[in-house]
Symmetry: C2
Amino acid sequence: MKSENNKSVPLVVIKRLPRYYRYLGELLKQGVTRISSKHLSEKMGVTASQIRQDLNCFGGFGQQGYGYKIENLYHEIGEILGLSRGYRTIIIGAGNLGHALANHSNFEKRGFHLVGIFDNNSELVGSRINQIPVSHIDTIEDFFREKGADIAILALPKHSVKEVVDRLVALGIKGLWNFSYTDIDVPDDVAVENVHLSDSLMTLSYKITEGNTASDLDA
Amino acid sequence: MKSENNKSVPLVVIKRLPRYYRYLGELLKQGVTRISSKHLSEKMGVTASQIRQDLNCFGGFGQQGYGYKIENLYHEIGEILGLSRGYRTIIIGAGNLGHALANHSNFEKRGFHLVGIFDNNSELVGSRINQIPVSHIDTIEDFFREKGADIAILALPKHSVKEVVDRLVALGIKGLWNFSYTDIDVPDDVAVENVHLSDSLMTLSYKITEGNTASDLDA
DNA sequence: TTTTTATTGCTAAATTTTTTTCAAAATTTT
DNA sequence: AAAATTTTGAAAAAAATTTAGCAATAAAAA
């Protein structure tokens, strides 16, 4: 996680990039070609300084007196995030959540190609979700040998997670997107991003309780 | 958002509470009755100092030389998060995601009672998901008048979000759990918690790209 | 009972993150 | 072409967050 000048970029900065990317994408669609950090900051409800500071972690994309060329900036952020590389993605768990994620077409657009769905319920095996056949989890080793995968989406109950994760790690998975209600333990070279929905809902509960609703940009 | 000593508690602290709550709940189930910040910190991969500091934002739950009584601490954190109050919760959007969330039984356990599901697709109206009937979005005003709701889960496409949110706000919704791929603008007294799945997936992409996988506790 | 050990809660230090400030540079206006 | 305006990138300052240190205290052991 080193930037151009070999200083590591804090994760808080990284986590803001997708939001910049989203806003820039919208502007691009609207036909806007340039924007200043000040304008963007007003749109997004953050400080202009933060935007400039964040972008500068990766090099000077802007131009004094002019601002940023949106198309260029959009592309650069995409590169930083690694969105052009394309990922072979599998879903583990064909329950309600796995089903919903399999049908979420946005991911395909960003280069996350769904190439397999796995479940341990034999009754589901053979069916298709969004064109992709559901396979038995015990065929995962064969699947990797023949086709490989980069990212696994963990949409299975927590009691099965540990075993499955160990198998995926042994097979050389690169990233895990973890929706299960448990934390997972993997070697340093496997990336993990947790989506703990219950945690998020509890945070909402707190915000309601305490009337703390000041601009929710951190969420 | 004031703590006992009337100093506001930073949101970063709040966001860690659900994870403590989860671990303490597991220990409780295992029959463990006490724990020190040191032990808990080792289990969770954070510093003991951080745990003590976090808990102290709300008052001294521990005892010197002994540690924390798990049952007590678990309960206290639940209270801080407002989990005992019970929320009437509705889902807007009965697509794949709304469907999956409606079937997610964990939420009920934490006091988020699903009382309604709404969609603008007349074909879905009348069907039931997890016992709850799907109603047309245009009946939402009647629903509020008769029954009320505290939290709305936004699982609808972004182009419909703004209009729906404005209506919900006018009806006095207290919290919005936003899964749509857009940021929403509401008055200060309405709480918002965003779950931007695409953003999270892009963060995972970055972590894979940069080999940045050092303990993912911040995710 | 006394001593030793464990552990909190608080304070202070260190670190990280955000905001402020401004010279330098490019654009836009006159 | 010159002057005024805009805006970045970087440095410095301020604020927030995390970690370290330790006195006070309770529990456990001797």
